[in-house]
């Protein structure tokens, strides 16, 4: 069976055995998610790339701590989320703010920068801007919930927060976005 189509449980089992091909498949499967989360939280492509490497190194070192009866994505997201938080805390200690314009230079999957995308989709550009004004943890919660498709329980598992806290924070973050994007949302809704 091709490694790309392996179930998460089987992939995890092979990774635990130290199968290099399984590890490569794991990296192929989850590195885009880790990178995206890094970009959303750190707002810097280079930092996101560094954190992606760190995340997989950590996972490789501590794979025995993974419970194979649980889905793999929240575990990967958890490692990534905490790695990003550590970097943010480190940056705050060094007083090196993340690049607030970092996202502007990152191409999307169609190779367009957000500015280019904005020309065809003002809504996306405005939302990106509004997301940038949210705290990094809230950006991560929204990203995991809506972009990566995790459930509230899985987001809670990934972030180590209680489910109710996740729901409350997501609700508040959505509320802030709604406030900022009200005219746009009214237009979209009508």
């Amino acid at each position: 069976m091709a490694l790309e189509s392996l179930s998460e449980a089987e992939l995890a089992r092979r990774c635990r055995r130290g199968d290099p091909d399984a590890w490569r498949a794991l990296v192929e499967r989850f590195s885009p998610m880790v990178y995206r989360l890094g970009v959303r939280m750190l707002r810097d492509g280079t930092e996101a790339e560094d954190v992606s490497q760190e995340v997989f190194l950590r996972m490789h070192r501590s794979f025995d701590s993974y419970d194979p009866t649980r889905p793999l994505a929240p575990w990967v997201a958890r490692t990534a989320y905490h790695a990003c938080l550590r970097r943010l805390e480190g940056a705050a200690r060094r007083e090196l703010p993340g690049d607030p314009e970092g996202l502007a230079d990152l191409p999307d999957e169609r190779g367009r920068t957000p500015e280019q995308a904005a020309m065809g989709g003002e809504a996306s550009a405005l939302l990106l801007q509004a997301l940038g004004d949210l705290p990094a943890q809230d950006r991560a919660l929204l990203d995991l919930r809506y972009r990566e498709g995790l459930s509230d329980a899985e987001v809670a598992e990934a972030t180590g927060m209680p489910v109710n806290t996740v729901k409350t924070r997501i609700f508040r973050a959505r509320g802030r976005l709604r406030g900022w994007l009200a005219p746009l949302l009214r237009r979209s809704a009508s």
């Binding site: 130290g18 999957e109 509320g175 009508s190």
Partner: protein
């Protein structure tokens, strides 16, 4: 934001998340038909989710997965030792047989050694007599040297 608007948004979100109890969900659906502000709150909540979901995804830089995989300490497992071990050569087998021919009588004599023989001397004699059949000693495989990144990480962690 007014308290009413906040409650409406909360209900709309809970409805969309499937967090309302059946009765509450039915009441919300009734309100939808009767109160335009409820319909508006639901439409706005939906529009925001749609926007969040349809945001163009950030593409990872080309070759990122390859770079990560190259950095991981992935090694092919060494084949099982039994299969890696070369088959005994005919010369070695013949020498082992010859040794047994000479040592055989010693093993036979072990039972007649008498009470004067100490236990350790007896065991040494047995080990010597069975020597040709013992597994050839395998030198321990050299321990792979940790890559630099790992040593640096360990040093940083222990500092």
């Amino acid at each position: 934001m007014s308290e009413n608007a906040r409650i409406l948004e909360e209900r709309a979100d809970a409805y969309l998340d499937g967090d309302l109890a059946r009765d509450e969900a039915l009441a919300f659906e009734r309100d939808l038909a009767l109160r335009p502000e409820v319909a508006e709150a639901l439409a706005a909540a939906l529009a925001l989710r749609e926007l969040l979901v349809s945001l163009p995804p950030v593409a990872p830089p080309p070759g990122l997965a390859d770079r990560i995989a190259r950095m991981l300490p992935l090694r092919r497992r060494a084949p099982a030792r039994a299969s890696a071990e070369p088959a005994p050569s005919p010369v070695r087998a013949a020498l082992a047989g010859l040794a047994w021919t000479f040592r055989g009588p010693t093993v036979a004599a072990l039972g007649t050694a008498g009470p004067a023989m100490t236990a350790s001397a007896g065991m040494a004699q047995v080990r010597w007599a069975l020597g040709p059949f013992g597994a050839p000693s395998q030198p321990a495989p050299p321990r792979p040297r940790r890559p630099l990144w790992r040593r640096l990480l360990l040093r940083r962690r222990s500092a």
